[in-house]
Amino acid sequence: MPESLFQKVWNAHAVRTLANGQTQLLIGTHLIHEVTSPQAFGMMRDLKLKVLMPHRTFATVDHIVPTNELVEPYKDPLAQAMMDELRKNCAQFGITFFDRATGKQGIVHIVGPEQGITQPGTTIACGDSHTSTHGAFGAVAFGIGTSQVRDVLATQTMALGALKVRRIEVNGKLRPGVYAKDVILHIIRLLGVNGGTGYAYEYAGSTFDGFSMEERMTVCNMSIEGGARVGYVNPDETTFAFLKGRPYSPNGADWDKAVANWRSFASDPGCHYDDVVKINAADIAPTVTWGINPGQGITILENVPDPAKATAADEKAGIEEALAYMKLKPGAPIKGTKIDVAFIGSCTNGRLSDFREVAKYVKGHKVAAGVKAIAVPGSQIVALQCEKEGIDKVLAAAGFEWRAAGCSMCLAMNPDKLVGEQLCASSSNRNFKGRQGSPTGRTILMSPVMVAAAAVAGSVADAREVFSVS
């Protein structure tokens, strides 16, 4: 019987059925960072447990690292304590740690693929909801809580129920100035922030076939913003080409065997899907959020919704709450909304291709007066490559601060924070209330090129006009 990738990977990793009917699922690859792992190691010590397969857990530090201060001890003693704790735990339990000194540190969802640790047909877990990113390689990758981090450390498994699979097919060519970020914002707007609850999203169609791995990662990354814990793209030649020669990729005779094995995990033609959604790529426009969740999106040409026109009472209340927080006028154009900060980075859009694309357009432009613009590479390797290509200089000449690698202002657990009611044009993934570090700070999500356009214009802008994209 034809099967989907999700079913194949699930079946290959199902260890046994537990008493409550859940599956004990083998997690082949476990990624950890400093925020959600220390308590898990504490539980391991309390229960006197050992790490079952220390070579299958990989650590990095990303959330709390300052991006403009490289010398330790950090000014924030709590950040330093978390850093020290991770170092201690990795050393004690024999776990590979991509610390800053290795030159391989970065956001966990950028490091895994960069190192070739993220591979097709595997299961991956990390105490981080954006673990869905790794699905871009045809892995089944779950964001998990800290108790489950403990479970994976101790048993290399966790208790889980199978998910349904929704195939989201996007076909055709994206119009100029429309990016992978717009594709996922469009999908979440269409299906809702909880439309994916209980589902794995399989992204397919000619648009995805033509996407680079980085574009696929951007889409898979935000699956969780649509409620889907897992999102994936079937592995193909693009996937294999990306992985070839990476530090943890198979090599020599093992490479061909691995590719054949990886290929076998792709969904079979005619397999069952619990739901299918089809989208025409040409219908997608540069998309920005106007509210306080990632599903509250509109195209750059649309107006902010008017609660008076809402059909349901809770929809009206939701719009009113969002507009009050965002300080936007009902029915007003989003274009022209003044911004204070521009942030390019995060596990969604902090990769080499994001900075290349931005550099291509901002060259010769200047960030508007009064706008603080920061560009934060997702990893040390991304940073180095950008610097080799002179991208850092182009961005700096335009008025962006070029920073060191980390999660930075996506969730502001480091010193990069909004202040007061500042409004940020952001290439990150969440526009929740207070997300970027100020309890009253405001976020508008968009693609990196749209952030660059907003930085140059000083207000939310159509990058196609600002940069004459055609």
Binding site: A12, H13, V15, R16, L18, A19, N20, G21, Q22, Q24, L26, V35, T36, P38, Q39, G42, L52, M53, H63, L78, A79, A81, M82, E85, T122, G127, D128, S129, T131, G143, I144, G145, T146, S147, Q148, R150, A154, T155, A159, L160, G161, V193, N194, T197, G198, G227, R229, A258, N261, N293, A317, G318, L411, M413, R430, K433, G434, R435, G437, T440
Partner: protein, 201 residues
């Protein structure tokens, strides 16, 4: 490891209305700069309970003295969406809540809560409104979540709830923290791993 069999939760309840209440709202990221979960209860809903500009307490339901001591949290659709942070259910539990009733839950939040032995049960919108109305009328209303009958009883009324069977089974049979059972399975884990090329090496 012996765990409590959670067949019902009874107590007073508080309504925190709204859909899509995310984990950043439940526990802002800056309070996650810690290496234990101790003391997180204090920061539950911090930025909506305290006016960020004035520092004054707001009219958030958790600031309403009539509901202090509530052990059941009532909310809307897609509760706990966003990040995978276990800090969110930990903060709710450490504040003193023993269960959550909502129209729906985000997947990761639901799993994290169940593993902590904190039932998250779904009720439909109309029924949540009925419970909320009873609470508004009498904040001392005793609410019982019955995981055997899958109903919530309050003020002489009863409404149906749903709960994923695997979670219900785990709670009522005292196996909501799976670690013991997972450890028992380690021999099978090793044989499953041996069949997978990327793990066999």
């Amino acid at each position: 490891m012996s765990l409590a069999k959670i067949t019902s939760v009874s107590g007073r309840a508080v309504n925190v209305p709204g859909n899509d209440i995310d984990t950043d709202r439940i526990i802002p990221a800056r309070f996650m700069k810690c290496v234990t979960f101790d003391g997180l209860g204090e920061f539950l809903f911090h930025d909506v309970r305290k006016d960020p500009k004035t520092g004054q307490i707001t009219n958030h339901p958790l600031n309403d003295a009539r509901f202090s001591g509530a052990t059941i949290l009532l909310s809307g659709a897609n509760f706990g969406c966003g990040s995978s942070r276990e800090h969110a259910p930990q903060a709710i539990q450490k504040y003193g809540f023993k269960a959550v009733i909502a129209e729906g839950f985000a997947e990761i939040f639901f799993g994290n809560s169940t593993t902590l032995g904190m039932p998250c049960v779904n009720a439909n919108r109309e029924d949540i409104a009925k419970i909320a109305a009873a609470l508004a009328k009498d904040p001392a209303t005793e609410v019982t979540i019955d995981l055997a009958k899958l109903e919530v009883r309050f003020a002489g009324q009863a409404v149906k709830i749903t709960l994923r069977e695997s979670a219900r089974d785990a709670l009522v049979n005292g196996r909501w923290d799976a670690i013991g059972e997972l450890i028992e399975g380690i021999p099978s884990v090793k044989s499953t791993a041996a069949k997978l090329p990327y793990l066999a090496a």
